[in-house]
């Protein structure tokens, strides 16, 4: 299914948030309507990763070709996780169903399906928990909201746990901090045990495991892509920037999501990094082995996060760098910030990060040794180390989309704003209930940004789009900035459908436009090859 197959936005959102179905939720099975679910993982990808039950199947099939003892497998995995994750155990027990989370989920706001209310999404799995792991549930059954795990329940899990982007917006409104992302992550782990997973997650994972990046680009291909950018930069600025690859003994390893060098508009941001590092004379290196900052393991299992993430420290150690900078990415930063050091540390072979340009110690990264690019750049600007001409970006009227994970899992809110305000003159915030910690998902995170799921994506995109259209109409905003590779891909579809006159881009693209490089020719076009000012249009 493609965007042009969808009804117009005003027809898509003909929904009533206050009218749940007539049938009780336990009696309303999942409806696998085309456009609202993702295709299952190809068997070859599961085989490559040594994961259970590789096969060819479709969610619309009656028979999902589950192992005979599938129920036993799931319940055993369930028990194991109740004993390993306090979060999971607690979140099964303490919800009071106050409903504060209900209208906080972008998928609920765009679909009005009550099972997209975080509380009910969690009840899908809590009902089985009560049935099999609590005394009251065993005895009283449905009276206390317990139900047996059946194939239909499993199908419902698949449909709705792959209709949650693990964005954590609900968790900040919950009076007990119940985090649906945690429930979805465990729910997906359980589904994985019997081979129910989606290809848009598993293929990038398998590719990343083998080649180091989601697209499965081999090392020479990665190098080609980077060289293309170096050529483009030379055309625009007259400067041939250096491109260190797998360079042993460099001071800094730079890791960014592969989306940044694979497709527009990520490539412009990637060019931005190259120009910035060249201008600074930074002693750094790219890596083809750790050529992926993103980590789709986060969307499938804790074990897979660790298996993929291990490459970053391993490569840092092999190359003998001192510390690491990470590029603009959302879920990557959940992994880097909240999981990496615990899973694959201690990084005692690295040094505490110090900016070689300003001498600033990045105290907040002294253990993990990995610094966010906007922390690094904000520090440069604050110390006056960059020559910037924000007026170069005057044609661009900017708003900023906080990516879920940097906002709600790291508190990276001011750094990107500081950079943005220093590289352009027209910056307008979207309404306060839709930014910072209350930011809305792009609708396609957590592995759901595929074409077959486009209807549900555009529904999930609606709250973000609504806020975007507000600033577009009020301030003529024409550029939606983000610091996330998934965003750059999914927001492009979002704007195409919801606000066609707005383009999407990254922060370092804008920075590189404004960056005055030593010895550059007079620039007539921006990084996209578009004329810098109106006169050049003629």
């Amino acid at each position: 299914m493609e965007l042009h197959d969808l009804p117009k936005p005003e027809d898509l959102i003909k929904i009533d948030l206050d009218r749940p179905p007539e049938t009780a939720w336990m009696d309303t099975p999942a409806d696998f309507r085309p456009g609202t679910f993702s295709y299952p993982a190809a068997g070859k990808n599961l085989k490559y990763l040594d994961l259970p039950n590789p096969r060819e199947w479709s969610p619309t099939d009656e028979d999902w070709k589950l192992p005979d003892n599938w129920k036993e497998i799931i319940l055993k995995g369930f028990k194991e996780r109740l004993e390993k994750y306090r979060s999971f155990r607690l979140f099964m027990d303490i919800c009071v169903r106050c409903g504060a989370c209900a209208d906080k989920c972008h998928f609920f706001l765009g679909s009005a399906d009550p099972k997209n209310m975080p509380v009910l999404r969690a009840e899908l799995i809590r009902s089985v928990y009560r049935n099999d792991f609590t005394t009251a549930g065993r005895i009283l059954g449905r009276l206390v909201g317990a139900r047996e795990l059946t194939v239909d329940v499993l199908k419902e899990w698949f449909y709705y746990f792959y209709q949650c982007t693990e964005c954590r917006r609900c968790s900040i409104f919950c009076p007990y901090g119940i985090d649906q992302a945690e429930v979805t992550m465990i729910g997906r782990e359980l589904l994985n045990l019997v081979g129910c997973n989606i290809n848009w997650v598993k293929e990038p994972v398998a590719n990343c495991f083998r080649t180091g990046n989601h697209l499965g680009i081999p090392p020479h291909g990665v190098k080609d892509m980077w060289e293309f950018m170096v050529d483009d930069i030379e055309d625009i600025t007259g400067i041939r920037v250096n491109l260190p690859i797998n360079k042993k003994g460099a001071e800094i390893l730079f890791v960014t999501p592969s989306g940044d060098y694979f497709a527009d508009p990520g490539t412009y941001t990637c060019m931005g990094y190259l120009m910035l590092f060249h201008e600074l004379g930074l002693d750094y290196t790219w890596s083809t082995y750790a050529s992926e900052g993103g980590n789709f393991g986060l969307f499938t299992s804790h074990e897979m996060i660790k298996r993929l993430n291990a490459k970053i420290y391993a490569e840092a150690k092999r190359l003998g760098v001192k510390w690491i900078i990470g590029g603009e990415c959302g879920h990557m930063w959940r992994v880097i910030h909240q999981y990496m050091d615990t899973m694959n540390g201690p990084a005692d072979f690295l040094e505490e990060p110090v900016s070689p340009i300003t001498g600033t110690k990045f105290e907040n990264s002294k253990s993990s040794k990995m610094v966010h690019i906007t922390e690094f750049t904000a520090d440069l600007i604050k110390n006056g180390k960059l020559k910037l001409d924000p007026s170069v970006n005057d044609k661009i009227r900017v708003t900023f989309h906080d990516s879920c994970n940097p906002a709600r899992a790291a508190g990276l809110l001011e750094e990107p704003r500081y950079v943005i305000k220093n590289v352009c003159n027209n910056f307008f915030e979207m309404p306060e209930n839709t930014i910072r910690e209350q930011t809305f998902c792009c609708g396609g995170g957590a592995g759901l940004g595929n074409d077959e799921n486009i209807e549900m994506r555009m529904r999930g995109a609606f709250p973000r789009a609504s806020a975007l259209r507000h600033v577009r109409d009020k301030h003529d905003v024409n550029r939606l900035l983000c610091m996330c590779a998934i965003d750059r891909a999914t927001l492009t579809a979002l704007t195409h459908y919801w606000a066609p006159d707005v383009s999407v881009g990254g922060i370092h693209e804008l920075l590189a436009n404004a960056l005055i490089m030593d010895g550059q020719i007079e620039r007539t076009v921006d990084l996209r090859g578009e004329p810098l000012n109106e006169e050049d249009d003629e």
Binding site: E10, I13, D16, D18, P20, K84, Y85, R86, S87, L90, C95, V96, G99, A100, A102, D103, L109, P114, T134, A136, R168, S171, I172, F173, P175, Y176, G177, I178, E182, P219, H220, K223, K248, T288, H302, K306, R307, A310, K311, A314, R318, T342, M343, N364, K366, S367, S368, E375, A378, A409, A410, G411, L412, E415, Y418, P431, N433, Q438, S466, R469
Partner: protein
């Protein structure tokens, strides 16, 4: 079962409980059972049950540090970090937890989304749930504290003070306590909200209505025995003091309504450890709230971290060595 049958089932259960105690004491004369045995048993189930539940949670490890950040984290020194919304040290965590537990910080953030033509979404401030929650919990607390007069002799000064402040508005005789009014109002609001909002009614279980009706029953029976079918307070105190001093006595002539009240309280106490009311203990253990956002500066240890299968650089280079050399990318083995 649909949402209405959940409601009626819970109501029915509470009515049965009321009738059970009325019949048990009024007709069969089981005052000792309802005044002594059941309260003791319920007290024991409550204490042991709550301890058991909390210990059960506490024994489960927390493998990762996963706070939800609701404000600016600590990074560069000139960027103001928000220690209460994205705590970077123990003080911040304590502050955040206090705000959460005492003032329901997260619930205060609540908004109500409204879908308008366009289509577009607007977000209205929605503090009623927060207000209802605050009123409910604090008036409940005051009511419980006032009851200390039945369990401690002489009555502690703070209880006297609390009662006189609480009963400041002596509009009617006997005194109407503000906390009673607030409590009834809050419980009623929480109930009506659950019934009136379609999406909330849709998700509500019997287990959501039952404690509401039970608590409402406790409040109403308490008010009735103080204001309508008055019971002899001296006899009541003799019974309650007997319970706490472990010399239980059952004075004759206490009205049945008292035993209804005590029975419903007993049921509530025994029900708590097995119910959602345990959120009171659980909120303290919630990893998204009680952990600091200092992941990159202080390493967190997962007690069950285990080695996993990775794809090493050597394996990678072995597969791509020729291509890498051809492309001029440095390799480890020639």
């Amino acid at each position: 079962m649909n949402s209405w049958s959940s409601l009626f089932l819970a109501l029915f259960a509470v009515i049965v409980l009321v009738l059970l105690s009325l019949l048990g004491v009024g007709t069969v004369g089981l005052a000792t059972l309802f005044g002594v045995v059941i309260p003791y048993a319920a007290g024991a189930v409550f204490v042991l049950g709550v301890v058991w539940r909390v210990v059960q949670w506490a024994r489960v490890p927390v493998p990762f540090r996963i706070p939800s950040t609701c404000g600016q984290g600590k990074s560069l020194p000139w960027i103001k970090a928000d220690n209460l919304e994205a705590p970077y040290n123990a003080w911040g965590v304590i502050g955040r937890m206090l705000l959460e537990v005492l003032f329901f910080r997260s619930l205060f953030r609540n908004t109500r989304a409204e879908l308008r033509d366009g289509p577009r979404l607007t977000y209205a401030s929605a503090k009623w749930l927060w207000l209802g929650g605050i009123l409910f919990h604090y008036s409940f607390l005051i009511v419980v504290l006032r009851h200390f007069r039945f369990f401690i002799e002489p009555v502690p000064h703070f209880v006297e003070l609390l009662s006189s402040v609480d009963g400041f508005f002596q509009i009617l005789l006997p005194t109407v306590f503000l906390s009673d009014v607030a409590f009834l109002a809050a419980v009623t609001y929480l109930f009506l909200r659950r019934v009136a909002l379609p999406e909330l009614r849709y998700i509500s279980l019997t287990a959501d209505y039952f404690p509401l009706f039970l608590i409402l029953g406790i409040a109403i029976s308490g008010l009735l025995m103080r204001n309508v079918w008055k019971v002899d307070l001296l006899s009541v105190k003799q019974l309650t003091m007997g319970l706490v001093t472990l010399h239980p006595t059952v004075p004759a002539g206490i009205g049945s309504i008292f035993y209804v009240h005590v029975f419903l309280v007993s049921v509530l106490l025994a029900y708590i450890p097995f119910s959602k009311i345990m959120h009171a203990g659980g909120v303290f253990l919630s990893p998204t709230r009680n952990m600091a956002n200092n992941n990159r500066s202080e390493r967190y240890i997962n007690p069950w971290n285990y080695p996993v299968k990775t794809h090493t650089y050597e394996e990678y280079e072995d597969e791509f060595r020729d291509k890498m050399k051809e492309a001029g990318i440095p390799v480890d083995k020639e």
